[in-house]
């Protein structure tokens, strides 16, 4: 309703111009007027109708009542007359009814006189009766009706009908407004909007239209006009667009030209445009920069007279020929600057063709390749020298060696090949730093260089290995002299990073042609000799000898055998009891590895150190642990409560995953770590203290017990025992052996024992072989003992069997102790 009112207001508001309003105002006012007239007409008609009805009713009432009253009047039945008149009180519209007799006297009266405001309708009738041949006038009935009731009814209906009529008029007006709006206002607005839209430049879109009325025809005509306009403007725009595209292309070409020009000027590559005879026409900035000439100096002059050095007439002719044949030439040429300096140039010359014409121009592009040349030179030197020391590398050395062999094969003077390896260099690298190691290598290389002649070749083979060719030196004596000087020079103290190092070297020498005719043989033999020198303690010279070669071969054999033994699991464990000194009971067994070779059982001393040096010890160690855990599991099954001690080598201990591997093996065999004692050497704790500390902590946290083995041979550092959480100390047999004869040894051992026990450590005496030693140690309070006195290492089953016998033997020795006082 509100929106409708809004629209109506809008329509009226636009009445000054709006077509809709112009249509609507007369239509609406006409409809309202006609509605009002119709309403008045009909209400008047109804009023007349009602009046007519009233008259009819009056007549019919008069007729019926006259007939009704005739009888009573005839019969003078006043009661009946009264009865009828009383009933008239109920008659609507009745104002007054009167019955008079023939003389005019009132017989009966009902109702009242009419009020002046009422309109009344009166009628009367004579009452007659025929009796015999006569008709008698009985009297007259007068009836007066009033119209108050119908007027009230009309008023009431008018009251209801007027709003209805008004509502209808409003509805009609609304429908009219909406219809005009939709069928005239909206289409006209669309048409206007389309006109406004299409008045602007651009493609004119036709107006889609459904209706086929007059407006539709107008729109059709409009659309046809639009199509025509579009056709005209379309061709115009096409031409315009082509023009614009051409313009754009030209601008693009100009831009590109500018860009190319800028590029040519900006590039580092020198460019020159010449005519057919290579006379300069155009140059770029890079060209002027490179050659140092001004553009005026170059213009019009042949390139050969300016920046290309005309040193080779033949090549110049070749270039000319090549240009004529191929329209291009590329190559290196010596350049010349305005100051007269020469530079290597990389020159490319191309003939320039414009649209198929013969080449009228050449473009020369050239760059300064002096840096490339330098780099090439450097690369060449790098390929044959060691970057750290600047010495020839292996490749160059081998080349020189081959050349020397060739020369000396012809001349027959011989030469010496030295193989130099620094002693303990690995230790320097590991304990200090690689930077220090590098500086040491450089310094020593310098020292060696100083000790050699210029014609001799010193090369670095890699790592801390150096090789030397001493030319025309076939005499061992001369070689020894030279090497002595060399060793002396190298052994001089060296200051690096505030530390003073003394570095020795092991040197092996092979002589040509005696020690080999081929370079490989010579190298191998010199290496073998060097190895022998290192095996002999380092800082010395060894000449190659066949015996050394044999030794080396033996080592190789042993290595191969050990590898095979590891693969075949040829190792077995023997167990040596560790007994409680007080009771003689077997408390621990130390597991000792044996190599079960086909012919003999090899003792660890013969292969453990070798395996350590050869890097095989870790493989053996893992097998040992497996066997030890398996044995512990078997013992647990047999109810033997003994624990087991296993030696751990240094490299094994420092292996990255040592602890994890150990725990995994323990778990796999189902053995508690607390049943195993790991024996490590004191030196391990001292040399690799930081790493060892971490590993120890983890092992102890996992439940393993730690014993320090061979205490007393090395540093005998007490601080180690305090600092590291070890539980057991094993006194080396070198401390135990002199107990019988050396009072100082006795004092030291008893002191150690007292000291360790006060630290809460268990003490194991190793190598106890005599009753005297046992007695002394027992008296000194040593907890545990190990040695031949109690039992030799033997396989598991005999070891357990020997345990009881051992105890009885201790009982015998105790009995003997009763007779004699304990030795001091």
């Amino acid at each position: 309703m509100r929106s409708f009112c809004g629209f109506l207001g809008q329509a009226v508001g636009r009445s000054r111009q709006g077509l809709a309003a112009k249509l609507l105002l007369p239509a609406l006012s006409l409809s309202l007027g006609v509605g009002l007239l119709l309403f008045l007409f009909f209400s008047e008609k109804f009023a007349r109708q009602a009046e007519e009805d009233l008259r009819n009713r009056l007549d019919s009432f008069l007729s019926t009542q006259a007939a009704e009253l005739e009888g009573p009047v005839w019969e003078f039945d006043q009661a009946a007359i009264d009865r009828l008149f009383r009933s008239y009180a109920l008659m609507p519209d009745l104002q007054r009814v009167r019955l008079t007799d023939s003389q005019g006297a009132t017989l009966a009266l009902a109702g009242a006189d009419p009020s002046p405001s009422d309109r009344t309708f009166a009628a009367s009738r004579r009452l007659t009766r025929q009796a015999g041949s006569e008709t008698y006038n009985l009297g007259r009935l007068e009836v007066v009706f009033n119209d108050s009731r119908i007027r009230q009814g009309l008023a009431a209906s008018r009251k209801a009908e007027l709003p209805a009529a008004l509502g209808l008029a409003v509805l009609f007006a609304g429908v009219l407004v909406v219809t005009v709006h939709w069928h005239l206002g909206v289409p006209l607005r669309r048409l206007r909007e389309s006109l406004e839209r299409n008045a602007a430049a651009g493609l004119r879109s036709p107006l889609p239209w459904q209706s086929r009325d007059e407006l539709g025809q107008v729109v059709d005509a409009y659309n046809a006009m639009l199509a025509e306009v579009n056709q005209y403007t379309g061709s115009l725009e096409l031409a315009n667009a082509e023009l614009q595209a051409e313009n754009l292309q030209r601008r693009l070409a100009e831009t590109r030209l500018t860009l190319f020009k800028t590029m040519v000027e900006a590039t580092d590559t020198a460019m020159v445009i010449t005519d057919r005879e290579l006379r300069v026409q155009e140059t770029n900035a890079a060209c002027l920069r490179l050659t140092g000439f001004a553009a005026e100096e170059l213009a019009g002059r042949p390139v050969w007279e300016t920046f290309l050095f005309p040193h080779d007439r033949d090549r110049m002719a070749a270039v000319q020929r090549c240009l004529e044949a191929n329209a291009a030439w590329a190559g290196e040429w010596r350049g010349l600057t305005s100051q007269g300096a020469r530079l290597p140039l990389r020159v490319t010359i191309n003939a320039l063709h414009f649209s198929g014409d013969a080449a009228a121009h050449h473009v020369l592009v050239f760059t300064d390749i002096s840096e490339q040349k330098a780099t090439q030179k450097l690369l060449k030197s790098l390929a044959y020298s060691d970057s750290l020391t600047g010495l020839p590398n292996r490749a160059l050395f081998m080349d020189r060696l081959e050349r020397e062999i060739c020369i000396e094969t012809r001349r027959g003077r011989g030469f010496a090949l030295l193989f130099v390896d620094l002693d303990n260099f690995k230790w320097i690298n590991d304990s200090m730093s690689h930077a220090v190691g590098d500086r040491v290598l450089a310094a020593l290389a310098g020292r060696m260089r100083q000790c050699l002649r210029a014609e001799d070749t010193l090369a670095r083979m890699g790592g801390d290995e150096f090789t030397v060719i001493l030319r025309e030196t076939g005499d061992a004596v001369v070689v020894e002299r030279v090497v002595a000087a060399l060793l002396a020079r190298m052994a001089e103290p060296l200051e690096v990073d505030g530390a003073t190092l003394e570095i020795g070297a092991s040197i092996g020498a092979a002589l040509y042609p005696n020690d080999g005719a081929a370079s490989e043989t010579l190298m191998k033999n010199a290496d073998t000799a060097m190895y022998a020198a290192k095996a002999a303690g380092g800082s010395r010279l060894r000449f190659f000898e066949p015996a050394i070669a044999q030794k080396a071969q033996a080592r190789l054999n042993l290595r191969n055998k050990l590898k095979r033994a590891i693969a075949r699991r040829e190792f077995v464990l023997h167990f040596q009891p560790i007994v409680a000194m007080a009771t003689g009971a077997h408390v621990h067994y130390e597991a000792l590895v044996r190599w079960n070779r086909p012919k003999a059982l090899v003792q660890p001393a013969q292969f453990i150190e070798f395996a350590e040096n050869e890097g095989l010890i870790n493989h053996i160690g893992r097998q040992v642990f497996d066997m030890a855990f398996a044995q512990l599991r078997d013992w647990a099954g047999e109810g033997v409560p003994a624990t087991m001690a296993v030696n751990v080598s240094r490299s094994q201990f420092l292996e990255e995953d040592f602890v994890e591997d150990l725990l995994a093996r323990a778990t796999r065999h189902g053995v508690a770590p607390s049943r195993m004692v790991l024996e490590i050497t004191e030196s391990l704790l001292i040399t690799d203290s930081a790493a060892a500390k971490v590993v120890l902590a983890r092992l102890i946290a996992s439940g393993f017990r730690i014993a320090v083995d061979d205490f007393g041979v090395g540093y005998s550092s007490l601080s180690v025992l305090v600092e590291y959480p070890v539980q057991i100390v094993k006194l080396d047999k070198s401390l135990i052996r002199p107990l019988e004869c050396d009072p100082r040894a006795r004092a030291m051992v008893s002191g150690f024992i007292a000291l360790f026990q006060s630290l809460g450590l268990e003490v194991v005496a190793e190598g106890v072989e005599t009753a005297v030693q046992h007695e002394f140690l027992a008296a000194a309070g040593c907890n545990l003992g190990q040695g031949w006195l109690y039992g030799k290492p033997m396989p598991a089953t005999p070891a357990l069997a020997a345990a009881s016998a051992m105890e009885s033997r201790l009982v015998v020795s105790r009995l003997r102790d009763k007779d004699r006082p304990v030795a001091q």
């Binding site: 005839w74 019969e75 039945d77 009865r83 009796a131 015999g132 006569e134 008698y136």
Partner: protein, 334 residues
């Protein structure tokens, strides 16, 4: 010719006018209108009266024109209108005639048995089981009541006065159905079983019994009223005195022996009277009507009292008017 025609037309118009304007004078000069009420079949009534009226015409020397009206009111209106000058009617009609039609009581009939009046009756079928008025009222709701004309004295006024008014009842309200008939129709209705109870009078019962002896056997009287004064003969008070005198002379002489009356003639006159169940006529005046007039007023009074629909003021006004009329009535002469 035209003048003659015009004169003829004028004459005819004059004639018509004169005949229209003064009919009474024209008729009454040599004619006497005699009104009768058809208390039984009109033909029977005419037959009964015709000999007397013939004698009257002869004696008076004029035409006696009898008119038999279906209802009592017709007599009153006819007399009021001057159509009849003399009428033999009941007491009630006589009252109306006197009050409204300028009538005057001149004679009264002498009953054949010599009594001064007759009785109103209630008739019922002999086999109806109704024996008394009490029986009738006890079963009123299921009975059809044959009432008489409201202007009939014996057929309506007397039963109303003696039976309904004292009980405060109206026949219309008491009975299952009420019809109005003349006396003979009521008698025949009861006999035929169309009506359970009907009014009648002793005179009519006698004539009806004579005419319909079979029907009479089926009818019995369950109530008889006290004596009603005989039917009066009413004439118009403005009748010429000569004519009044002649009529009086004729009627008072009729059926009576006289010195110069031949016996044959007397016999014939008495025979005529017997046919009418009369013995002759006596002279009397309006006072003859007093008992019935009083009776009628009392009946009206009781009806007003019983009319519940009447407004109180109107009732009081009417009662006062009736009471005034009653008080104004002189005492009856006999």
């Amino acid at each position: 010719m035209r003048t003659v025609l015009l004169a003829c037309c004028c004459l005819m118009l004059f004639g018509a006018l004169t005949s229209f304007l003064c009919p009474a004078q024209a008729q009454t000069r040599d004619r006497l209108g005699f009104g009768l009420v058809a208390t039984s079949a009109p033909g029977a009534v005419r037959d009964r009266w015709q000999p007397l009226l013939d004698d009257m015409a002869q004696a008076l020397g004029l035409t006696v024109q009898p008119t038999i009206y279906d209802d009592y009111a017709g007599v009153i209106w006819a007399m009021g209108n001057g159509d009849i000058q003399v009428a033999c009617v009941g007491n009630k009609v006589a009252i109306e005639a006197v009050d409204r039609a300028g009538g005057e009581v001149a004679f009264k009939a002498v009953e054949a048995d010599g009594r001064a009046g007759y009785n109103s009756l209630l008739l019922a079928r002999a086999d109806s089981g109704l024996r008394t008025v009490e029986d009738m009222f006890a079963r009123a709701g299921e009975l059809t009541y044959g009432d008489g004309d409201i202007n009939s004295t014996s057929g309506h006024v007397i039963p109303g006065h003696y039976l309904f008014a004292p009980r405060g009842l109206e026949p219309r309200t008491v009975f299952r159905r009420v019809v109005q008939n003349n006396h003979e129709e009521n008698f025949l209705g009861v006999a035929a079983g169309r009506l359970d109870v009907a009014t009648g009078n002793s005179l009519n019962l006698a004539t009806s019994t004579a005419r319909h002896p079979q029907a009479a056997a089926a009818v019995k009287v369950i109530w008889t009223s006290p004596l009603i004064p005989s039917d009066p003969l009413v004439w118009r008070a403005d009748l010429e005195p000569a004519r009044k005198a002649a009529l009086r002379a004729f009627l008072l002489d009729y059926g009576r022996p006289g010195p110069d009356k031949a016996p044959e003639r007397l016999n014939r006159e008495q025979a005529v009277l017997r046919g009418m169940a009369r013995a002759g006529f006596q002279a009397c005046d309006n006072s003859h009507l007093l008992p019935v007039r009083r009776m009628e007023l009392v009946r009206q009074r009781s009806r007003i009292l019983a009319d519940a629909a009447l407004p109180q003021a109107e009732r009081l006004r009417r009662l006062a008017a009736i009471d005034k009329t009653l008080q104004a009535l002189p005492e009856a002469v006999d």
